[in-house]
């Protein structure tokens, strides 16, 4: 009995030691910066802040917060992925230190939010990039190419069979089956739908007559809840197609179509998507703070190395007039997330790092928060 207990304790101690070793070895990259309270060029701050918003940012935030809290003792950051609109509302009501949002804050919301920032309008800071993949389930077809026009017609139920001539023209030499297309879209409101339909509207306005928005506008097809729902539906339905964030293609082992905007077919991956984001332009909103970094994605980009179906999500923060309790931690944390260290973490979990030039602009914007 006694022997058994002492061996148990020994085992416990051994696992504890192992866990400690595991911790320090896996986090060696951030630990090197943390030895003097630094992470990714940011000086550690302490305290507790809350943030909420975009669920598309959830995984990025989780990773960032874990890394930050591991490196910086005494810092607690809570991010609740309650949706972009809810996040912006929380920000306006002064319930969170910053908000994550799939689209930049604009219009009335900016003036409403100014009240909590000591009468200064907040700014939009692009932080997490992503690519939307057209995922499909077609046996024997591994390199499907889609043009904006064909994609719009598929999702608007004008092209309903895989053997359609327009599809054959986009895929010379590929044998496409004579089978009806099972088309899946998001049944819930989503920033992914918003960005996907913005790309369709910008590149195929004739074939896509609907206004872009987070609610699916076309008739027909089948709706699934969440990107995981769409991915699962495509995976389990032969001859199907849907649109999901790139990360789902990787984690679910799905196939993603290359997109030909006119400059040649481009497969979606972190590199081509970063190249696509590089063509996005900063279009500061005059109603926002002076350093606003609202971006306009160039969905019509024709660079053969740049993937065009992109999404870019923002953090919304007070440019000045931050509460003195929250400011150091907000600034320090966002400095880390916009650093090369923070951004390079993204490609491993299905996101797209910001292009270098934008990364610098974002870092400057974060530095100017007060």
């Amino acid at each position: 009995m006694k022997l058994a207990r002492s061996s148990k304790i020994a085992a416990l101690a051994a696992t504890g030691a192992l866990a400690l070793v595991g911790c320090s070895s896996s986090d060696s990259a951030s630990d090197s910066g943390a030895s003097d309270g630094m992470i990714g060029g940011a000086e550690c701050a302490t305290g507790t802040i809350k943030a909420s918003g975009s669920s598309a940012q959830k995984n990025a935030m989780t990773e960032w917060i874990n890394a930050y809290q591991t490196a910086c003792e005494g810092a607690t950051i809570e991010y609740s992925p309650s949706g972009s609109s809810a996040g912006r509302a929380d920000f306006i009501n002064d319930q969170v230190a910053f908000a994550g949002s799939d689209s930049a804050m604009e219009g009335e919301e900016l003036s409403q939010a100014a009240a909590r920032c000591d009468a200064n309008p907040p700014i939009n800071i692009p932080m997490v990039g992503g690519a939307i993949a057209l995922t499909y389930n077609l046996e024997g077809v591994d390199n499907l190419v889609l043009t904006p026009d064909v994609t719009a017609k598929i999702f608007n139920n004008e092209i309903t069979n895989w053997n359609d001539q327009a599809l054959a023209d986009a895929n010379p030499g590929v044998t496409l089956p004579d089978a009806p297309i099972a088309q899946f879209h998001r049944s819930d409101g989503s920033g992914t739908t918003d960005n996907f339909t913005q790309w369709l509207k910008a590149t195929a306005p004739d074939a896509w007559p609907y206004e872009p928005g987070s609610d699916w506008a076309a008739k027909g097809g089948q709706g699934s809840k969440g990107s995981d729902g769409v991915a699962a539906s495509v995976k389990s339905t032969p001859n199907s197609i849907g649109y999901v964030e790139l990360s789902f293609v990787e984690t679910q082992g799905l196939k993603a179509a290359s997109v030909d905007n006119g400059g040649g077919a481009v497969a979606p991956n972190a590199d081509t998507a970063t190249a696509g984001l590089a063509s996005a332009k900063v279009t500061p909103n005059a109603d926002a703070g002076a350093g606003d970094l609202t971006m306009e994605i160039d969905y019509a980009v024709q660079d053969p190395a740049a993937y065009p179906v992109l999404l870019l999500t923002y953090e919304i923060a007070c440019e000045s007039g931050n509460s003195s309790d929250a400011l150091p931690l907000v600034q320090s944390f966002l400095t880390y997330t916009s650093s090369t260290d923070g951004q390079s973490m993204l490609s491993g979990i299905g996101y797209v790092p910001l292009p270098a030039e934008l990364e610098t602009q974002v870092a400057d914007a974060v530095k100017s928060l007060s």
Binding site: G83, S187, D188, G189
Partner: protein, 326 residues
């Protein structure tokens, strides 16, 4: 009630008696308070829904009751609940058609036919069925049931396709109102069955034995003694089930394709319900979008109230049969 009875208390009040009456008073005011609290709560919910729904009604450029679109955050906002009302009603009705006969059959079997051992374990299993979270039903419906429903729905289309609701013109049989209805039926089955069973067990032994003594078969005994006695109870059980079907959210949201059109072909992908739509749209809704969702919730609230009032009225009408209600 208790005050009416007071004159009958012949003995002169003593210290002990007055303390009992104080307790009575406290207890009766507590129960009255609880009753009033529920009413106030309902009124507060109703008022909240109306108040929050006003911006949606003011800004809507569509017809709130007939439009089959949902773009409350577009400029100008354009939305209506026609498709939601249709989907909610149809899925609930089909669920009732499937669930009620099975539930009553199960209840009768447990109450009168099964051996004591079988009835205990069967009753237990049904109670457990009621405790399964709805997300589980949703995932099961989506990932398991849907794959096995194609045969049935295809058969309905092939052989009963001349009936419009079973006709499937597009050849895709997934994510339909029909599948959602089957899942709803399974979800409300335990509610209806468990309550009906309790009601059937209330049938006075004398009634049953008398009818058997008069030479009735077991079926005749059930038909003449049990069912009339249990009718109000079965109706209220059914209405409780209907309430759950009307308000079921996540299971339906997972299964339905969420289309904003009234489509009588119930085996085709499509359909949407009030509750599912609220769950699907809430996260990304803008200010008018939230208000529009609350407005649709208000309609569901009213529908549920009306359904329950009808159920109450039916029960009140048949009160003379009910031992439980007298």
């Amino acid at each position: 009630m208790s005050t009416d009875l007071k004159p009958l208390d012949a003995p002169t009040p003593r210290v002990q008696g007055s303390s009992v009456r104080l307790g009575d008073r406290i207890f009766s005011s507590l129960t009255r308070g609880a009753g009033i609290f529920v009413l106030v709560l309902m009124a507060a919910i109703g008022a909240f829904l109306v108040w929050k729904a006003i911006p949606a009604f003011q800004n809507n450029t569509g017809n709130f009751f007939t439009t089959q679109e949902w773009f409350p955050d577009a400029n100008p906002p354009f939305f209506g609940i026609a498709a939601l009302a249709f989907g909610t009603a149809v899925s609930s009705v089909i669920a009732m058609i499937i669930a009620v006969p099975i539930a009553i059959g199960t209840a009768l079997f447990i109450a009168f036919f099964a051996s004591r051992r079988a009835s205990t374990s069967l009753g237990f299993v049904i109670d457990v069925l009621a405790a399964v979270p709805s997300i589980i039903y949703g995932l099961w419906g989506l990932q398991v049931l849907m794959n096995h429903m194609e045969g049935i729905t295809r058969w309905l289309n092939d052989y009963l396709g001349f009936i419009p609701i079973f006709n499937n013109e597009i050849g895709i049989y997934t994510k339909s109102i029909f599948i959602a209805s089957v899942v709803l039926a399974i979800m409300i089955l335990p509610t209806i069955s468990a309550l009906s069973r309790e009601v059937f067990l209330q049938v006075p032994r004398d009634h049953r034995e008398a009818s058997l003594a008069l030479g009735a078969t077991r079926w005749e005994m059930i038909r003449m003694a049990v069912l009339p006695f249990g009718r109000p109870g079965v109706i209220s059980a059914t209405m409780l089930g209907l309430g759950r079907a009307l308000g079921e959210t996540i299971a339906v949201a997972l299964i339905l394709s969420a289309a904003f059109e009234i489509n009588w072909h119930i085996t085709e992908p499509g359909g949407n319900t009030f509750a599912a739509n609220i769950a699907l749209k809430w996260n990304e809704a803008g200010p008018i979008g939230l208000s529009a969702l609350v407005a649709s919730g208000l309609i569901l609230f009213i529908i549920t109230l009306v359904v329950n009032m009808i159920a109450r009225a039916i029960i009140a009408k048949h009160k003379e049969f009910s031992g439980a209600n007298s």
